[in-house]
């Protein structure tokens, strides 16, 4: 059949290539030649492209291998922080005044859910979220990286927790964990001293990665704020091997953090409570160990409950506090400013002695008033005290005597003495925002564009006028008078088991002034104790 076909074509077509058996052979060979050339071309080209793949692999795996190895490591290793427990605050007897309590909370990890909004909607149906909460969550989600969990709801009850766990499949990205929250067992009794904690605000972000963790709190006032870094501790870290969706496969490395240190303060919580029961609204009290400046109690009425800040203060609560004229949020012992009144007379007397305008034995006659030009300054004793030396004047708190001494001494020398006793100066107590107060001088008045009159000096001789001093400053002044030492008021006794400031014991004997007047001050101090009259306000 083949032969027949060949013959037919050979006869019929008459084309040169296709005629005859020889032509067929030739044609076949030509076709084969073309095929061989082209097949070789294809084959070699294809093998060449395999070679290109090989070179590509060489570049990726050999030349750039190190770079990709690093990337691979970054891929799989995820570092997480372990929040350290915040240090406790103890009173001088070791009683806990600020501790930690367990807090079950629901967290949201944005990168583990497709749709944050949907997850929150579902969560809301299980545990209702208010508009404000929702806004806060969304704000925090924007601020933090996608894998950092954000607290959705804290202080979950057992029922809420159970409901969330049951619905877990519908709540991608939500996880429950236990954190700690601050607990102040003494409530409002020590709130002005211990302070309180709150979630960190933008301005608190000091680069410590710990602050990015959910539920972390920073000290906002008092000791909590002053010793915040010590109390906070340092975050530990775990290096976890994670897979592509962030699931933890195993732990590669763990570096324990440093727990926050306990801080012991000098205050006696029981004494504080007892005193608070005895003072009126709008007043404050400071009890200080005169030997070393340890504050044993410092109360200010009314006060507030620092536990409220944990869960966030409601707007209503805040309004109530700020609109209260008795200012519960303000520690009047350190931030309330008052004229010292007669308690200031010792300073005036000391200043007079130092300036040598008066000696302890010099007598001044008190007729019940003093006239300066056409102005009459009265003594509190209308009938007068008669002739008095320094000791008698202090004992009876005679105004005229101190009018006279002030007039002789001059306001600037009184102010200098007052400053040496801590008045009008910044006392280095561990309560942030403590007021400095004001002890006026001639220059201060002139800076206001007003002249300083002799009459002003007279008035200031009995602690009236422009003086603005805190109860803490007066307590410090008294302690310095009583001991003759440059007593510094302080609250910290021990930090992490080691002695805090001032060695925890008696302050080093350092005089506010020099040499000679020390004796005089001590002298005055003793007399004041013997028959003191006290502030007369």
């Amino acid at each position: 059949m083949t032969l027949w076909r060949r013959a037919e074509r050979g006869l019929g077509s008459g084309k040169p290539g296709g005629s005859g058996f020889k032509g067929v052979r030739k044609e076949e060979e030509r076709r084969r030649g073309v095929f061989t050339r082209r097949a070789l071309l294809l084959g070699v080209g294809q093998l060449g492209l395999f070679g290109f793949l090989g070179s590509r692999l060489y570049r990726l795996q050999s030349e750039e291998g190190d770079r990709y190895a690093t990337l691979a490591e970054e891929n799989r290793v995820s570092a997480r922080l372990i929040p350290p427990p915040r240090g406790r605050i103890l009173d001088r007897n070791g009683q806990v005044v600020a501790g930690n309590q367990l807090n079950w909370r629901a967290l949201l990890v944005a990168e583990q859910t497709q749709d944050v909004g949907a997850t929150l909607d579902t969560f809301s149906r299980i545990v209702p979220l208010t508009e404000q909460e929702r806004a806060r969550i969304e704000r925090e989600l924007r601020r933090r990286r996608r894998f950092v969990p954000v607290a959705v709801r804290e202080f979950l009850s057992w029922e809420d927790m159970a409901r969330i766990e049951v619905n877990a499949p519908d709540l991608p990205g939500i996880l429950i964990d236990v954190g700690t929250t601050r607990l102040y067992p003494e409530g409002e009794h020590l709130s002005h001293l211990v302070g309180y904690v709150a979630p960190p605000a933008e301005r608190d972000m000091d680069g410590d990665p710990l602050l990015e963790l959910p539920g972390i709190r920073v000290g906002r006032a008092g000791i909590e704020r002053y010793h915040d870094l010590l109390l906070r501790g340092r975050a530990g870290a775990v290096q976890l091997e994670v897979n592509a969706v962030g699931r933890v496969i195993r732990e590669l490395d763990r570096r324990e953090g440093v727990p926050g240190q306990d801080v012991q303060i000098s205050v006696d919580a029981e004494l504080q409570k007892a005193l608070r029961g005895r003072i009126e609204e709008g007043t404050s009290i400071v009890v200080m160990d005169a030997r070393n400046g340890e504050v044993l109690a410092m109360a200010s009425q009314p006060s507030f409950d620092p536990n409220v800040f944990n869960a966030g203060v409601s707007a209503a609560q805040w309004r109530q506090w700020t609109s209260n004229r008795a200012t519960p949020l303000i520690n009047k012992a350190t931030n309330g400013l008052y004229a010292p009144g007669s308690t200031f007379k010792m300073i005036v007397g000391l200043a007079g002695l130092e300036a040598r305008v008066v000696t302890p034995g010099d007598r001044v006659f008190c007729p019940g008033h003093m006239d300066l030009g056409d102005t009459r300054f009265h003594c509190w004793q209308r009938h007068g005290h008669g002739s008095l030396d320094l000791r008698g004047a202090i004992k009876l708190s005679c105004d005229v005597y101190f009018y006279e001494v002030a007039k002789r001494t001059g306001i600037d020398r009184i102010a200098a003495m007052a400053n040496r006793f801590g008045l009008g100066t910044e006392l280095d107590i561990e309560l942030p925002g403590t007021k400095r107060g004001l002890v006026p001088t001639r220059a201060w008045r002139q800076a206001q564009g007003k002249p300083w009159n002799l009459g002003d000096t007279v008035v200031h001789g009995i602690g009236q006028g422009f003086y603005q001093l805190t109860p803490l400053q007066l307590a410090t002044m008294t302690a310095r008078l009583a001991t003759g030492r440059a007593v510094q008021p302080h609250l910290t006794r021990m930090i992490g088991g080691r002695a805090g400031r001032q060695g925890g014991g008696v302050a080093e004997p350092r005089h506010p002034g020099a040499g000679s007047e020390a004796h005089a001050r001590g002298d005055v101090g003793r007399r004041q104790r013997a028959g003191g009259h006290g502030a007369r306000r």
């Binding site: 095929f35 294809l42 692999l57 990726l60 795996q61 990337l71 891929n75």
Partner: protein, 383 residues
């Protein structure tokens, strides 16, 4: 013996026994395929997290089945295949149409149909049927005849029809591969150079227009190919993760079952499209080049068969199937190395997947049939 056997084939003596045909099967090639499949088993064992389930065991089973299929087809007389070629082509087209109408949608494309427990991707089968059809058309075409444009129009349509159907699924990668396989057969059959140049020019003009009609995800693949870092968690994620896994394997690899990127699922689809990355991560550059070398040997065998075959039908089949195999491997490896856009093309004999294994072994069966019947008489070229 060889001489008598060849003479018998030349004289179309059908009396050649099955045993004799088996003797003529190049068992070294079969061994090569087994070695590659074994590499696949090892890689899939690792992809399964150090377990034969769920991938490796199935892979071995499928390969065994494929081996039987391949050897059976190798026994079939190639002239019988030639007679049925156009029927096969018609079936392929019918299946492509069927998949468009009834197919299962995967990743936004209609690609496979379920036949009992098997999933069949007609587009894979179509490439083989297209090679057969074209080879049948060109088997007796003389050089002269190849210069006749009218003669080239029917096979041209035969290429464009499946390409269009696959594009419609839409599966850009397979459509391009189908077109290129067809072009390779045209080229080997002797189509003139200048006509290729003209066709290439036409494609260059058509490409921007075609780009307009691409699906968004296809465009995303092309744009992320140009700059993978632009969308690291989107379409570029796969490429970047694949490069990281590959590169971190280094020269000697991280060791069997030690590949972190693959086992931690940073590597997507590690059992199918990115199986080569898995190998390269665990066995390093050395392992990757070794596998590439084994695959190159398969290619060399394809072209050896083509050159040794004494009939045009067999030659064109060998070139067409060889090119098809080459394109599989090239597109896959180029994809995982970030050299071309992600195309969803598996690595033959190594990737997990029944449909691909079936069609690959079917193709090799035909290739072996060509080899066994390389001296069959087909008749001379015609004008």
């Amino acid at each position: 013996m060889s001489v008598t056997y060849e003479r018998r084939l030349l004289t179309r003596d059908r009396g050649v026994g099955l045993l004799q045909k088996l003797w003529f099967i190049p068992w070294s090639f079969v061994l090569l395929l087994c070695a590659i499949a074994a590499v696949g088993y090892v890689a899939l064992y690792s992809a399964g997290g150090g377990s034969a389930e769920p991938y490796a065991a199935k892979h071995a089973l499928r390969f065994g089945f494929g081996l039987v299929l391949m050897l059976s087809i190798a026994m079939v007389d190639i002239r019988f295949v030639a007679r049925l070629a156009w029927l096969g082509y018609a079936v392929g087209i019918a299946l492509l149409v069927l998949v468009l109408v009834h197919g299962n949608v995967g990743k936004g494309a209609q690609r496979w149909i379920d036949i009992g427990p098997l999933q069949l991707q007609p587009s894979e089968l179509m490439k083989i049927m297209l090679v057969l059809g074209l080879a049948a058309w060109f088997q007796r075409a003389s050089w002269e005849r190849m210069g006749n444009l009218l003669f080239l129009i029917p096979p041209g349509v035969a290429v464009l029809l499946p390409v269009g159907l696959v594009l419609k699924q839409p599966n850009l990668g397979t459509a391009l591969i189908t077109g290129m396989v067809g072009a390779a057969v045209f080229f080997a059959a002797g189509m003139r150079w200048w006509k290729f140049a003209l066709a290439a020019g036409g494609v260059a003009v058509a490409a921007p227009i075609a780009y307009d009609h691409l699906h968004d995800y296809q465009r995303a693949r092309i744009t992320t190919f140009l700059d993978p870092a632009s969308d690291p968690l989107g379409a570029g994620y796969n490429i970047i993760q694949s490069k990281i896994a590959l590169g971190s394997g280094g020269l000697w690899g991280k060791g069997f079952l030690q590949g972190t990127q693959g086992h931690l699922n940073f590597l997507p689809e590690k059992q199918t499209d990115f199986i080569f990355t898995m190998i390269a991560e665990e066995f390093g550059l050395v392992g990757a080049l070794a596998v590439l070398g084994l695959l190159s040997l398969v290619l060399v065998f394809c072209f050896t068969v083509a050159l040794r075959c004494r009939h045009q039908f067999g030659r064109l089949i060998a070139v067409g199937l060889g090119t098809n195999f080459f394109l599989y491997v090239f597109v896959n490896v180029a994809m995982v190395t970030g050299s071309i856009p992600v195309g969803g093309v598996p690595l033959p004999l190594i990737s997990h997947g029944g449909s691909a294994m079936l069609t690959t072994m079917l193709g090799f069966g035909l290739l072996l049939s060509v080899y066994v019947h390389r001296n069959a008489e087909f008749g001379p070229a015609r004008d």
